[in-house]
């Protein structure tokens, strides 16, 4: 039974998120806090004032990139679990270029940093792509392995090579202020002291770009063909091997943009272990967003809100720790992603009933004629 589009796109997700919050609310109740108040604090923390909002946007930026990466691969029938490691390696590209061109104005440096991040992360993703295309090695395993390898490699590079002697933490030297990706607060005072930077605009552009790529380019068409039916792609004269490699590289390049946001922007340096789970959240974002850029954008925002609002909540309600936030995220993923059909049936039913009341049964009508 096809439901009106708006029900599918808006009503059902909203109902599902609400359900997740209700269950989360029960957990909040169990620890003795007021769930309504908790939601209020969360929303206030995420949107209520410029500072919180800036952080929400900052997180959203990362999640958009990570989510798009998974989404693009998914359209090609590939499951890229390696965003975490790809973003990490992307950080290396970002920092090398940013330090090399140290002092260059950001307007000139940014494209270079982007290219370097995309290239490094894309190359890291290309390896599993190549192995899948040429050797048939399953990308799910190889990307998991590449995550572990990235951690080791980056740990060595950061602590043994990039780390300047005068710094205690394991991190690279700092990027010159003029070169660093500028914070939006330079133009929007409201966002003062928040890490949201130009990358946010890049993320929005990436959403549009991916939309165009998937549905309005020849490559996107080929990609989707392969994703749905690899044999049909061969029949159509598309090379699966080339498509797989290109798709993985693009996917990696997208998640590499996390480095532009973090390494070259928010942090201004490459920090050991900086990706901190963003790549994995990207999986949830992509699937929740049904691999559609609009969906990815919205679910990235939802996760941004959960991250920032959760931080606010942990501040204000000490009984609610950061793990509670992770739990609520899990519930949101579960209800909006995996159990999204749970409410579909009842909703379909409601609509059918409503429709019946409005117009007589078309079959009965036909028969009468």
């Amino acid at each position: 039974m096809p439901l009106p589009r708006w029900v599918d796109i808006i009503l059902l997700p909203v109902l599902n998120v609400t359900l997740a919050f209700i269950i989360g609310g029960i957990v909040v109740l169990i620890v003795g806090e007021n769930p309504i108040e908790a939601v209020r604090i969360m929303l206030y923390g995420a949107f209520g004032y410029g500072y919180g909002f800036g952080f929400t946007l900052y997180y959203t930026t990362n999640f958009i990139f990570a989510g798009l990466a998974v989404a693009v691969a998914f359209h090609g029938g590939l499951f890229n679990i390696g965003g975490e490691g790809q973003a990490y390696v992307g950080g290396l590209g970002a920092i090398l270029v940013a330090l090399a061109v140290g002092g260059l104005h950001w307007a000139f440096a940014l494209p270079l940093i982007m290219i370097a991040s995309a290239f490094f992360a894309g190359a890291w993703a290309f390896i599993p792509g190549y192995l899948q295309a040429k050797r048939g090695s399953h990308v799910v395993i190889t990307t998991i392995m590449m995550n572990f390898i990235a951690t080791s490699m980056m740990s060595y590079i950061i602590s043994r090579i990039l780390k300047p002697e005068n710094i205690n933490s394991d991190e690279s030297a700092r990027i010159a202020d003029v070169t660093r990706v500028p914070f939006l607060s330079e133009w929007i005072p409201l966002l003062r002291n928040t890490p949201v930077n130009i990358s946010f605009i890049l993320a929005i552009l990436a959403l549009v770009g991916v939309y165009v790529l998937i549905w309005h380019t020849k490559f996107g068409y080929a990609l989707r063909t392969m994703g749905h039916n690899g044999t049909a792609a061969r029949y159509a004269g598309m090379s699966n091997a080339k498509l797989i490699m290109a798709t993985m590289a693009i996917s990696g390049a997208l998640v590499g943009m996390v480095a532009v946001n973090d390494t070259a922007g928010a942090h201004g340096r490459l920090i050991l272990g900086y990706v901190a789970g963003t790549g994995f959240v990207g999986i949830a974002v992509a699937f929740m967003g049904k691999a559609h850029p609009i969906g990815v954008g919205l679910s990235a925002l939802l996760f941004g809100v959960l991250y920032q609002g959760g931080q606010e909540l942990a501040f204000t309600m000490p009984a609610i720790t950061r793990e509670m936030i992770v739990t609520i995220q899990a519930l949101v993923i579960l209800f909006t992603g995996a159990m999204s059909n749970m409410l579909r049936r009842p909703v379909e039913f409601a609509f059918l009933a409503a429709r019946h009341r409005q117009e007589p049964d078309p079959v009965a009508q036909e028969k009468g004629a």
Binding site: Y51, H267, G273, F315, T321, R322
Partner: protein, 308 residues
Amino acid sequence: DPALVYDGGGKFDASFNEAAYNGAELFKTETGQDYQDLEITGDAQREQAIRQFAARGNNPIVLPGFSWETALRAVAPDFPDTSFLIIDTVVDDIENVRSVVFKEHEGSYLVGALAAMATESGTIGFIPAFDFSLLQAFGCGYKQGAAYVNPDIEVIETAIGTGFDAFNNPGGGTEVARSQIDRGADVIYHAAGGAGVGVLQAAADAGVLGIGVDSNQNHLHPGQVLTSMLKRVDVAVYNAFEDFANDEWTNDVQVLGLAEDGVGAAFDDNNADLITDEMRATVDDITAKIISGEIVVHDYREDESCPV
């Protein structure tokens, strides 16, 4: 109220952050004055956390861990009336910041000497969470101390993982410890936070000796933990809260070594049977020599290398 924001490993890491927590709790029970604390989930939250506490008027704000440096530098100038304490790194160019650093290498030197005296096999172990300069400083002091007692001693060093998550891998700690034990190590020193629990467990199970770190971990397996390398983060936190409450706050750099009782080896009932008088005497002797400057313990962090 004072505020305390924990570093990545979180409040109950059984070592570093927990020590800070203990100091704050001690202050709370002694004075009845409450404090606020927070665990962060990512690097981006560092600046945010400090800023929010400062904006709400929490004072002083204690930041255990060098990772706070960048965030602190960004925020502190905006809140000149707030006092900050940072631990494990020096920020001496901002007015309202007190810095406390420890000479972990000195404390590690002591436990290294003890390990060398306690070993029967002549092989001892060191297990850092991962290869990382702060942890190397522990290891390097340990090796120097061991070599001081026995120049021929063999020290096996095995990291558990490759990043901060290794601090949360007690299973890995256990396996690494066992593999060192299989190779003959009979005293094992860990610098692995939560994963260290697994190291001490493995040592206790195998009937060899472990050495704790940061907090006094002797009680975890009485009679099976040779000693613990104390790093008095608790004292630094307690002092900060107290100084502020008594209007005795100073914005200075405190370097806490053996001389200042900032580091040391833990002796208590739990390990009394393990420590002979001779061992105790040697430790006291070394302590005196380090304090007097007769023994200079090399700090790995100075040149990222270790002489032994």
